[in-house]
Amino acid sequence: MKKRIYRSMWSLVLLSVLTVTFTCSFVFYELFSVQTKHAVNSQAILLQKSLKYVSDPLSYLSTLKLSEIEDRVTVIATDGTVLLDNSSNPKLMENHGNRPEFLEAKKNGYGIDTRYSKTLREKTYYYAVKLTDGSILRVSKTINSIYGVFFSVIPIIGLSVLLVILFSNLIASRLTKRIVEPINAMQFGFYDELSPFAKTIENQRKLIEEQLSNLESKANTIKTITEGMKEGLLLIDQEGNVLSANQSAITYLNSKFASFEGRNILELSRDIHFVGGVKTALTGENAEITAIYQNKTVQVFFNPVLQVGAIVLFLDITEKANAEKIRREFSANVSHELKTPLTTINGYAEIIESGMAKVEDVQLFIGKIKSESTRMIHLVEDIIHLSEFDENNIVKSFQSFELLDLTKEVSERLITLAQEKSVSITVEGEPFEIHANQRMIDELLYNLIDNGIKYNKVNGNVTISLSKMDDGVKIVVSDTGITILSG
């Protein structure tokens, strides 16, 4: 900006100086040469007029001491011979018969010509008039040609240009300062010309601010979401530096660093499996590991993100892992439980098949096979019940029913067993309407009362009492038998 102002200022100054010099030179030169011509003309005419009254013009002119005047006066005879000249010896001068002004004067009474010297720096103006005796009087003056004028003024122009440049430099620096200062200070109101520019900037600023706040709110939303996530989330760049990490991730990795951002992932976890996962993801492939963090089984996913790096996701699978463990143990137990009666059944069947069993024993063996298979059926029923639990469809079969009535009904069913064991059953409480799976409540009561009777003493008692609680009903089944040890 400054440079441009300087440059344009200089060129302007230079141009104006040159233009003024040229035009002035031309105008003044024209004026000057016209005046010179007039002077020469009038001198010649004056001489011609006065010579009319002189009998011998040549000798008269000689007496005039023309050599003292600046202009050159020449008298040329009709044949072109120079008769007189006030600046050089006429005898040494060549014949002037072919000079244009001479020829013209001979013809018209006067003649004009302008001739340049060899160097073009000077030119000579000739004015010739015919005298009464036929000879020609010529007055001439040598003046600087226009080129000559230029050549002579070049040093002056140069000097003045130099001065002007120096001066304009000074002005330019001040001016530039004055122009640029308000722009630098962003005081656009200073220039009307800049107000649209300032307006555009202001609009842009508003737009940027708006977009920034938009982005910020978006980032905040994402941050809130990720911060609230139970899953750990880490975003890392190509070099493995952490771009962002949520609270869960920080908790899982349990690094004591105040801030994760900008740290290399290696500083947070150098576990070789974890590092391996990160490296795999950074080469553009998915990876997955299961690790223990803070006593939790955590599944860690490493996913590449194009042009960013990778995302590391921590998923707490403790419950799933535990459930899986329980399921494994359960199926192992079930297989074992099922195998025991089957082995017994198989054994008795083999004995019967081989014919080794006595006839009276066969009956006994078949009885054993029956009781074992009944046990198996019960087991299988239990498994079916358990799978019902798993499938979560118990809620679907919920219904409203009277709990006290159901309790009484169940104890009625068990009354025979109780009588066999000499145990009495008491049901206490008020009627309650509850919403539950009736079949399972039935089973629950049956099992509890059944156990209460079976593991009781003679003349013992089983008491079922229902009492209302704030959030439901309390069923207490107590018996006078041996206690169930906790644990």
Binding site: E267, R270, D271, I272, V275
Partner: protein
């Protein structure tokens, strides 16, 4: 400083942490293999321990490249201590390999003694190695100093193991063969503790510029 130089320094730091990760992995599984008499695991560790040697070479090369660029002050200390540290780290890897080789031999036999002090000793040395690497990662003087102090505990356990083994041999000469192996394992663990201390001392040097031996 040139961008490349800065990158290389960062890479040095990362490589050392990575190597530390490998050390921790190797040492923790070495003890597991020993306690569970798992020859297969021991063999896996021996194979994986080669990664430590590879990392050592890699770090040494990088250190030399960095030294050629005339690092000064803190950078110089970082590079020179890294050069010393990798040697100790590599030695720890070797000691673990030694324990694994013995584990493979002992796996077929029934141990003459119940492993009481050796796992405890291993626990402390593992913690020391872990903390030594941690001290490096976090540039934490306090952690480094605690590693140096822990060495006394390891030495005390070594003494206890030695007493046990002497008693066993005196009890029955047939115990001698296994007893020597266990003695060797204890010695390996004791050496690991010493190397962890060395690493911690180099961490202290890289931070403060003063090595423990100068005090």
């Amino acid at each position: 400083m040139s961008h490349r130089y800065e990158e290389q320094l960062k890479q040095l730091n990362n490589l050392l942490i990575e190597m530390g990760g490998w050390l921790e992995y190797v040492i923790s599984f070495t003890i597991q293999a020993l306690v569970k008499q798992d020859a297969k695991l021991a063999q896996t560790i021996i194979v994986n321990a080669r990664e430590i040697d590879i990392k050592e070479k890699e770090i040494e090369n990088l250190c030399l490249k960095l030294l050629l660029q005339h690092p000064v002050a803190g950078d110089f200390r970082q590079v020179s201590s890294a050069l010393k540290m990798v040697t100790d780290m590599e030695r720890i890897g070797d000691q673990c390999e030694g324990i694994c080789e013995l584990t493979k031999l002992l796996a077929k036999e029934e141990y003459i003694m119940e492993l009481v002090y050796i796992p405890k000793m291993a626990e402390v040395t593992t913690k020391m190695v872990n903390e030594a690497v941690d001290a490096f990662v976090k540039k934490d003087l306090e952690i480094a100093k605690s590693v140096i102090l822990n060495d006394d505990i390891v030495d005390e356990y070594y003494r206890l193991v030695r007493n046990d083994i002497v008693a066993l041999i005196q009890q029955d000469a047939a115990h001698a063969e296994q007893a020597i192996d266990f003695m060797q394992i204890a010695k390996y663990l004791e050496r690991i503790g010493d190397h962890a201390v060395n690493i911690a001392e180099w961490v202290v040097y890289s931070i403060t510029g003063v090595h423990n031996s100068e005090k």
